[in-house]
């Protein structure tokens, strides 16, 4: 036997070749398992993100309320004449309002986007940030109200026209709101305040007195007392 060494080398190569499918198979199995685990995690992640997204409207509504409150505070403090810049936040067809200062004119209204939420990649929001020369945003809401009367829209208009100093329009939209639903406190307050701004103090007192009788609203009482004091 003179060729044992080459034969041994051949055998080593043969065993290596024989093991190759098992090694490759094992590697493929690990890759497939890894990919499966990754996909499962990814799906779970997406599901979580989606659930977060679906619960998104809540914070938006909260923001709306929070943004409105300072307006009333400033109103109650009887500082409506303070000049302010108004920014409208539009998202998915809804308008949110943020007031940093009292508005001086329609030209001071600016549409801005809400802050982006990086943890919600699936939320696609088209934001148009434009400085409005006219009150086109309000007109859109007015059109929407005429198509489908919604007290939220009319109250929105009343609230914002009042902030803009358009008291006649504020009075009109507050009345429209009351026609649909006469239990909205804010609407009655806005209606009375608009009357007061228009110089119809008696009407404001009568409206508030009437509303207090039916609702026993503390805010209405407070406002009535202040009007009577002045």
């Amino acid at each position: 036997m003179y060729d044992i060494k080459p034969l041994e080398e051949q055998w080593v190569a043969y065993k290596r070749k024989q093991r190759r499918p098992f090694v490759l198979g094992g590697f493929a199995l690990v890759v497939v398992m890894g990919a499966s685990l990754f996909l499962v995690d990814f799906k779970e992640l997406n599901r979580n993100l989606l659930s977060e997204f679906t619960s998104q409207p809540k914070p938006v509504v909260q923001a709306d309320k929070l943004l409105i409150t300072p307006a009333f505070d400033s109103l109650l403090l009887n500082e409506p004449t303070k000049r302010a810049k108004v920014a409208l936040i539009t998202t998915q067809g809804h308008n949110l309002i943020e007031i940093s200062e009292a508005p001086s004119s329609e030209e001071d209204i600016e549409l801005i986007a809400p802050p982006e939420v990086p943890s919600k990649p699936r939320v696609k929001i088209d934001l148009n940030i434009t400085k409005t020369e006219s009150l086109s945003a309000y007109k859109d809401v007015e059109k929407q109200f005429l198509t489908a009367p919604d007290p939220d829209n009319s109250l929105f208009l009343a609230r914002n026209y009042y902030r803009l100093g358009k008291y006649r329009k504020a009075e009109y939209w507050a009345l429209e709101t009351n026609k649909i639903d006469d239990n909205i406190e804010e609407s009655w307050l806005l209606f009375a305040k608009a009357k007061l701004k228009l110089g119809r103090r008696e009407d404001a007192v009568a409206i508030l007195s009437s509303y207090i009788k039916s609702s026993k609203s503390s805010k209405a009482k407070e406002l009535l007392d202040r009007i009577k004091k002045d």
């Binding site: 036997m1 060729d3 044992i4 034969l7 051949q10 190569a13 043969y14 070749k17």
Partner: protein
């Protein structure tokens, strides 16, 4: 002193030595069948099978067993020419050598055989019959018609050889015996019996079932291939026994060595 592996190696030298004949169930069955066929008044008997299935050794055994009872002759290698074949046949039939510068008259030979009918019964065992020409085979057929000469024709089983059998012998072959490759169990018995016949008990014990499984896989149960593989295996064992005995295991043959033998013989490839 000879290494035990050297002795074992020589056990598997490929030879048609009747003393090496191993009784197996299948070979015993084939032998019995062939012996009975010879007893019958048949003109020709076909023994066929793949190369290495034991046709030659079976014919040798038959001749060895019956040589004192019958006129039986074994033609191991086919004659190159027709003249050579008839010279051999002439000697078998007449028990005389053909004089120099003479040729056998085939018609006269057929008449001679016809005259022998009832007086003598001559059995001719033709090994490697696929190597005979069609012309010789036709003359063999005519001689068998005399009924004084009976031919046992051993053929390799291939498509061409089956064609020869069909063309020349289909109507005259009354019995066909087929030899097949061994099963794993038969091959195990074959290997063990071969080793035990030479008193190589240790080595026979060291060949385990998994060894035989691999050997059978490589050789597909072919006896000649098995002989080749085991010869090479024990050659490798002999080398390690002399040069690096740490690679040997007295209790069992490492599969690695069988694989190395398989690589050397081309059963497996890198």
């Amino acid at each position: 002193m000879k290494s035990k592996y050297q002795v074992a190696k020589n056990v598997f030298l490929d030879s048609i030595d009747i003393s090496d004949y191993i009784e197996l169930d299948s070979s015993t069955k084939a032998y019995t069948q062939l012996k009975h066929s010879i007893e019958k008044p048949l003109k020709m008997i076909l023994l066929f099978g793949r190369p290495g299935t034991g046709k030659s050794i079976l014919l040798n055994r038959l001749q060895d067993k019956l040589k004192y009872q019958k006129e039986i002759h074994y033609f191991a290698t086919p004659a190159i020419t027709e003249k050579e074949f008839f010279r051999k046949l002439f000697k078998v039939l007449t028990k005389k050598d053909l004089p120099h510068s003479t040729e056998v008259n085939f018609s006269a030979l057929v008449d001679f055989c016809k005259e022998l009918r009832g007086e003598r019964e001559i059995i001719i065992l033709l090994d490697e019959a696929q190597m005979y020409s069609g012309e010789i085979m036709e003359k063999i057929r005519l001689l068998s018609d005399s009924r004084a000469v009976k031919f046992v024709v051993a053929l390799h089983q291939t498509d061409d050889e089956e064609l020869i059998a069909k063309e020349h012998f289909q109507t005259r072959i009354w019995e066909t015996i087929e030899l097949k490759n061994a099963s794993r169990e038969e091959l195990t018995v074959y290997v063990h019996k071969k080793l035990l016949k030479r008193n190589l008990f240790d080595i026979a014990d060291s060949i385990k079932e998994n060894n035989m499984k691999l050997i059978h896989t490589f050789t597909k149960g072919n006896y000649r291939e098995c002989n080749k593989l085991l010869f090479t295996l024990f050659e490798i064992c002999e080398y390690y026994d002399e040069n690096d005995s740490s690679k040997l295991n007295e209790s069992h043959i490492p599969q690695r060595l069988i694989e190395m033998a398989g690589l050397k013989l081309g059963y497996i490839h890198v």
